[in-house]
Subunit: 277 residues, 2 copies
């Protein structure tokens, strides 16, 4: 195959999960005008695994006539050295930042394995995060309104406004305990706050969405239903937004936002602290 | 307050969600011997928000007598310039990598807003990821064994071996459709594979865990129960592991692994492609 400037092989390589390498490399490549054919090599901790990787790198070079790119994070010196002499452009995703901090603070860094995304020494913090996922799952979609005192956040909105994926992301990424509650049929006609929420008012946050988008999402789910009709969607959204305003519940419109963006905006508006895992 | 070399203020700043800045900065700081007091400023897109941030940076400097650290990613030149002259050590998390790729490939980068964690142009890819979260949720904990042909992976294991958080992480991070199925009471006594799984054998993957750890987790949930007893845990694990071996189902031990590590190892062993969002 000939060199195609529109496409290039990219490897994400780490002695850990390689999730940080993937995320960062992917963002960097988003600035360049070629298509990346991405492959990830996690847990490259042995010369055996290194050899396998080097073989793929060399094959890519021979096949395409151009060097592949490697975004990596490797602590063990021999593995690192072996990778650096391969037929690839290699980028250490941490090196430059660590060097700058070292120089500015005049502190010696200690490279360590299991840098991120591991249970680590602070296992209580990790298990608290998993408990948050479990709490959130048990309080999805109005299933339970028990133990609200443990909630960090209570999301309100009509069916299909983005509550469930947002709740799960907030739990998984930030360790928050999130309740979400949908307004349905009877609720919509005489809309009021559940009495259970009264003493947790400060935790309430609303999600809304454009009627056209809501109709589209519901049509995908239940084509031709009243549930998906423009009229129904318009009425539900008007009622719920009126409630948000009347009760002074902060809310955002989720149309065209990703779960990451919705979550980030909710945290910011609700003044909740972000925890980094 | 005096300068305390054991602690320093750290700001994560972005015109997007700042999730990449947080992840990367947190990993870099893990190599240094001080405690970071972290705060995140997402969506810094206006001079108004920049002013607020600069105020906090200056307050931190005055209060502590040392400059705070800022890990940032900002595209708009004026906002970027304003940040760089503040009383902080500022680290652009992308700059060095972009410069290296630019130099190696002789290609001009195009910095862009909404680099990561947005719905972006490829909205079909984003909605497929959300559909994966919904599929996974609908197939959690043996609730449904319908539509298994759509599954990318079927996780098996005893109750509390890590199936649910792993499934949700695989769906959210990698856009995979994951079914998880617990072996319970009656199953354990005469353990066999559900007939529904037969034609999906290649999708099966087992999770196991050390008996001591399983007892501990179950004790936290139902103290003093038979369910949490050492004997019960030992028996369940022995039966399930025997089944995995007999049926040649690949499996891993999740004790002391995080969801990210379990997920990465499962993908690797199952030969599933990682998608980057």
């Amino acid at each position: 195959m000939k060199n195609d400037s529109q496409s290039r092989d990219v490897f994400y390589v780490s002695d850990g999960t390689a999730i940080t390498c993937e995320t960062l490399g992917h963002v960097v490549l988003g600035q360049f005008p070629f298509k990346a054919k991405e492959k990830t090599f996690p847990f490259v901790e042995s010369t055996h695994k290194l050899d396998e990787l080097i073989r793929e790198i060399n094959q890519s070079y021979e096949r395409n006539g151009v060097k592949p790119l490697v975004f990596f994070s490797i602590v063990v010196p021999e593995i690192r050295a072996g990778l650096l002499v391969s037929q690839a452009f290699c980028y250490d995703v941490l090196e430059s930042l660590v060097a700058q901090v070292k120089s500015d603070l005049q502190l010696e860094p200690k490279p360590k394995l299991q840098r991120s995304h591991s249970v680590g020494k602070d296992s209580a913090k990790y298990f608290d995060r998993i408990a948050a996922v479990e709490y959130t799952l048990a309080h999805d979609d109005g299933v339970s309104l028990k133990n609200l005192e443990q909630a960090d956040l209570i999301l309100l909105g009509v069916s299909r406004s983005g509550k469930t994926p947002t709740s799960l992301y907030l739990a998984m990424q930030f360790g928050l305990r999130v309740v979400n509650y949908p307004f349905i049929d009877d609720d919509i006609k005489r809309l009021r706050l559940m009495p259970e929420f009264e003493i947790h008012r400060h935790k309430l946050f609303g999600l809304t969405i454009n009627p056209e988008r809501l109709t589209e999402i519901r049509e995908n789910r239940l084509a031709g239903s009243e549930y998906a009709s423009t009229e129904q969607c318009l009425q539900e959204l008007a009622s719920v937004e009126a409630l948000f305003r009347r009760e002074a519940i902060p809310y955002i419109n989720t149309t065209s936002l990703s779960v990451e963006e919705i979550s980030t905006r909710v945290l910011e508006r609700a003044g909740l602290k972000r925890r980094v895992f």
